[in-house]
Structure formats: structure tokens, C-alpha cells
Subunit: 374 residues, 2 copies
Amino acid sequence: MKRKMGAAPWQDAIRRAAAAPGVINLGGGLPADAQFPRAELSAAFTRVLQAGAGQALQYGWVEGQAQLRDRITERLRARGARVSAEDIVVTNGAQQALSLATDLLLPRGAKVGVEAATYPAALTLFRARRLTPVGLPDGRATYVQTTLNNPTGTALSDEDYRSLARRRSALIEDDAYGDLTFAPGQRPPFLVTAPHRTYHVGTFSKTLCPGLRVGWLVVPRAARERARRLKETDDLQANSLAQAVVNDYLGHVDFDRRVDVLRRYYRGRAARLAEAIRRSIPSWRFRFPQGGFCLWIETDAAVDERRFAELALDEGVSFDPGSDFQVGRGAGAPTTLRLCFSYVSPARFGAGARRLARAWRRAVVRPSPRSKRR
Amino acid sequence: MKRKMGAAPWQDAIRRAAAAPGVINLGGGLPADAQFPRAELSAAFTRVLQAGAGQALQYGWVEGQAQLRDRITERLRARGARVSAEDIVVTNGAQQALSLATDLLLPRGAKVGVEAATYPAALTLFRARRLTPVGLPDGRATYVQTTLNNPTGTALSDEDYRSLARRRSALIEDDAYGDLTFAPGQRPPFLVTAPHRTYHVGTFSKTLCPGLRVGWLVVPRAARERARRLKETDDLQANSLAQAVVNDYLGHVDFDRRVDVLRRYYRGRAARLAEAIRRSIPSWRFRFPQGGFCLWIETDAAVDERRFAELALDEGVSFDPGSDFQVGRGAGAPTTLRLCFSYVSPARFGAGARRLARAWRRAVVRPSPRSKRR
């Protein structure tokens, strides 16, 4: 179902094909449908409509519903952030928080610092806004996934963390996977250590469900009014219904416990996909992730990425091409890819890995035009 | 509840005060809570969750859900438009459709043609994007409410319609109130007569409920790919839950019949507010609206608008200041205002009009600093 932004138009066609029945879709970065709390959300929906239609169906304030912002604030304060509900703008998912922060911070033509591998929809956004992604710690502002990087599944390196901590430039801190680390004890987000220059992006897409599109942007006080005005010109306000349902839901469940369950659930899936890949394609390298939804694969061969994706579809499996995630990747650099363990049933991981192995063998052995002539 | 964008920051404070209990809020442009089909929406919600969580809770395609776009297409075709589902991008309400069209069509610094009185959130958007609003039919692109103008409650004049029909510049056609005309027989929208240059904006906010934030942009074919990319960089996609609920709802009700009921309902309210205003403030002039949610009031006196709004709040009533809607309004021009009959119970129209009359008398008799000195 999900389309993750890609640089190349051919990827749209591939993504649609990947959604076909029979294809084992290891791309996309979707959470598991099975973990959506349908019964609890239904109950929440019923309650908010019984309480009166105003909150859920009528227009609301640009910054979002007050109680929901209180609950988000509470969760951030539990991690050490000194934020108040006034610092928060509820957004249409994390992507809108990201685009608001970008539009607030980065004038056309500016440089934006990014990690070596990073979230593709952020890169596409930056390019669409005529910004130039550059390596850390440079850039007029920096986009980082401090706690957990998508796609690498790791925290920001100590070196990068320290060098960014020393600078004064603004940070767009994407915490989309911040709740889904497999083990505790990670470094605090920059929202805690550098709140005056951190635009912190969060979302319920990974821990609850993405279709509700409830995310948030924590804005430094000095930019609050501008952030609200921009949100208002862009689309007036976030979805009242989704906000009311999420708010009611959070008031009726132990959300921390749910998040713990999800961490164990996705860690178990990560282990099963890792095992399947090691068995079928032992030449691929990856670090076991510290959280999130995916394995980041490095290979020893530089194959034609598009052809590999097409061969994989031909074998009945799909993945996310590594070049989507990488800036300044040299021509001829070894192929990389992202494999998600979050969405497809683990029962299909073995078959998915075997299909990938067949596609990889076909991609690698393809004779180049030059070798043909010999 | 609703904040409609205003030019002046003081209006935020006034808007929040207007939401206080006891204040009769004749501003805001909100639909009537009583008309939200709560039971039908609950049933739709239950059905979509029973059908499987994927459609409602998971990520979806950037352009929106296919069946919902089919239904929107069908309604537009019934009005004579030759559109297909591929021409439609589902948006986070009409405002996002408007901001997408603006970003697609109008580079910073361009002139945008607007009607003499028009939708304030469009004006605020244009100014935030560093565009200069100018009178019709000028501008690199033109923003029009062809079928029904908010705030004037009238269709585009024959003269403006003809002059825009002759031009070749792009049109942003805001059809937010297009379904809510009190009588049939109006001119076709430009989507019918000039589809290749018309960016047509629609929404379920007025006919169903605004809290769902389901709107759409019909894009000329040549701009389709750019529109989808822009929507994707801005926020990935519209709310899956709201789309699924609206789609299911439309499949289970006679929506045309509902729209007919709403037309009669709001026409009845318009008549009652018109009567109350005529009785309490006979000096105010307005044309009975051809549809929509409001009366557009012209007065003979130029009062201090902010003071009038504060006096009105002091009397326990609120309204939308006319300057929000007008471009190039000369200093010293007679005061105008928008009064909405859509939201407040008609049982309070009489009291609202009397409070307005008191505030108006106080605003008009206020001695100017100059007359004080005499």
C-alpha cells in the first residue's frame, strides 16, 4: 500500500507492482496491520461521537486539540524534555512536521546537513525545496534521526552527536522511530539537550497506526507563531476526528505497555529476517538493528539497481533500493538495500530471502556489454 | 472552535474569546453540528474496521483511495465535467488543495487575481507565499469562487465570468460551497468550460463535516505528476481513516438527498438571520445570499474595526471583520462584516442581532480624537 518517495519515476511502477498479491513486499517501511488496536480504536471512536460531535467532526484550532497536546507533552517530559503543550503543533503525520520545519528554517538554495544514509522522503522534500543535502555536521540546519536512524537501525554516532552538540545551527530531529528501540539506555534527543534550536518531529504512525496521520512538531518558542501561521496557510489544522480518537484512546490504554509489546514484537521479527537473509545470502552484510522496522544491507557488488529491482519482482519479492537513502553515493559504489521485517508475515521471510537470493544471483552474473564483446 | 485566518494578530485573541460560552458566535464559517450524520459515520467506521484494518489504518497512496476518487469523479461528471479519477488528488481539506494549487502555479512575487471580497484564508496564503493579490481579471493566475462566493453569497458576475473565460491564464476555482446553492440553474464551473487551465478545489467540509479534512484538487493532466510529488513532499497522503469512512458512508447513503436537505436547512437559517438583522439594525444592507453560510453586510459608517469587535464581545456576540475579506480596501471605507447563520442556533439570532445593534451604536457614536478636542 505505501509508496515511499523515490528519486526515480520508474520506482513508482515498481512500488505498485510490489503491492500485487503474491509479491513478498520487503520494502515500504509499513508497520504490521496485525498490531493495529482495532477494537480499542473502535471503542474510542464510539466514545468521542457519543460525547458530542464538536470535538471530532467540527473545525478545531490550528495547533491541535489541547488534551492531545498535553498527552504528547507528558510523554516527551518523561524522556527529560522541558516542553509545554504550547510548544507543540499537531501535524498531518511526521512528514508534514518535517516539511513545516524545513519551510521555517531553510531558504531555497541553502545547504542542509544529513546523515550518510537517511529517510528518503526527507531527501525528496529537501530537493523539491531546492536545498542541497550535504554531510554532517555542515549545513545551515541539520536533519538527524538521533535515537534511531531509518534505514540503518542505529543511533547517531558519538562523533556526530558531539559535533552537532557543539554547533549552534538549527536541528530538525526526526524521532519517528524514537519509541521503537529494542533496548533502553540510548542518548537523550537534542530536544532535551538543545531545545532552543531543535525542531523535534514525532508521530503515532509507527506505534499506533499511520492511517490516522497524527504527528507533531515541537517548535522552539521563538518560532511558535510562525509555525502556527504556516500550518494554517498549508491546511488550516490536523484532522479533528483522528486527533479525538487518538486522544481518547490514549486516555483508556496503558500506551507505555503497548510500546513495550511492540518493541519485543519487532525485535523478534528482526531476528527472523536476519536469520533468513544470513542463510540464503551469506555474502550480504548488516548490523542487527537497535530498533525500527528494517535491516540495512551492504553488498560487495555494484549491480544495476533498477534491473535488480525488476528481477526481484520477477522472482516475486520487493525491497527498497539503497540509493534512495544515500546522498553523494559514488558511481560504481557497491549496492545497498533496505529490507523491512515490519510488514510481511515472518512466515514468508524464508521464501522472501530465497527469492531475493535468486534475483541477486541473476543481477550479479549479468554480463556487462564490455564482457560480452570478449 | 474554528479559527479563520486573520490579517491581524489581535484577531486570534478575539476568536478565542468568541468561543467562550455565552458569546453568540456569528463569525467563523462553521457548519451546524446538528447536521453531522453521527450515526451513519459511526456505522461506516465500524464497517471499514470490520473489513480489515489495511484500508483505514495503514499507509495509502499519495493521490488518495481509488474508490473515493471514483465517487468524487462521479459527482463532478454529473455537473458536466469531463474528469477521471486520475485527475484527482485527495487533500487534507480544501485549504490544502488551495495551497497545492498556489504552489504549483504561482512563483514568489507573482500577481494573483482575486474577487473584491474573497476567502480570507486564501488571501493569507497568498501573502504568506509573497504573492500580490490584484483585482480580476488580472494576475498570472486567478482565484475565483465561480458558483458561490464566500463571503458575498453570490455567483461570479457575468462580466467577470466572461472576461475570465476569454483569458488563457490558469484558474484556481474554489468550489467549497458549490453544492450549497439555494436554487439550481447556476453557470457551470470553469472545470467544465476550461478544464485544461482550471485547478478545481472541492471539499466535504461543508456538506458532511470539516473535522474529517477530506478535500480534493482536480489538476489538469499536464500538472498531475507535479501535484502528486508536491502532495507527497508536504505530508505523504491524506488521512486513510477519514477517506475510508467517507467512502463507505457515500456508498450507503443518498448523498444528493442529504445535500438537498442541507440547502433547505441553511436557506431557512439565512431567512431567520436576515429577518433578525433587518429588525435590529435596519441601516445595514445585504443581499439575500444565493447559498452558503453567511450574510455579507455593508454599512454606512467607517468605524474602528478592532474596537467594534471588542465592543461586540463585550455585548456577548462575535462576527468576522470585513477587512479580512477585502483587498485594496481604502482607508475610511465604510465598515463591512460577515455574519454566519450556519453555526449558532437560530433561536439565538434575535439576541445576537440585538447585541450587535448595541455594539454598533457604541462603535458609531465613539468620539474621534479630533472631535474630542473641539
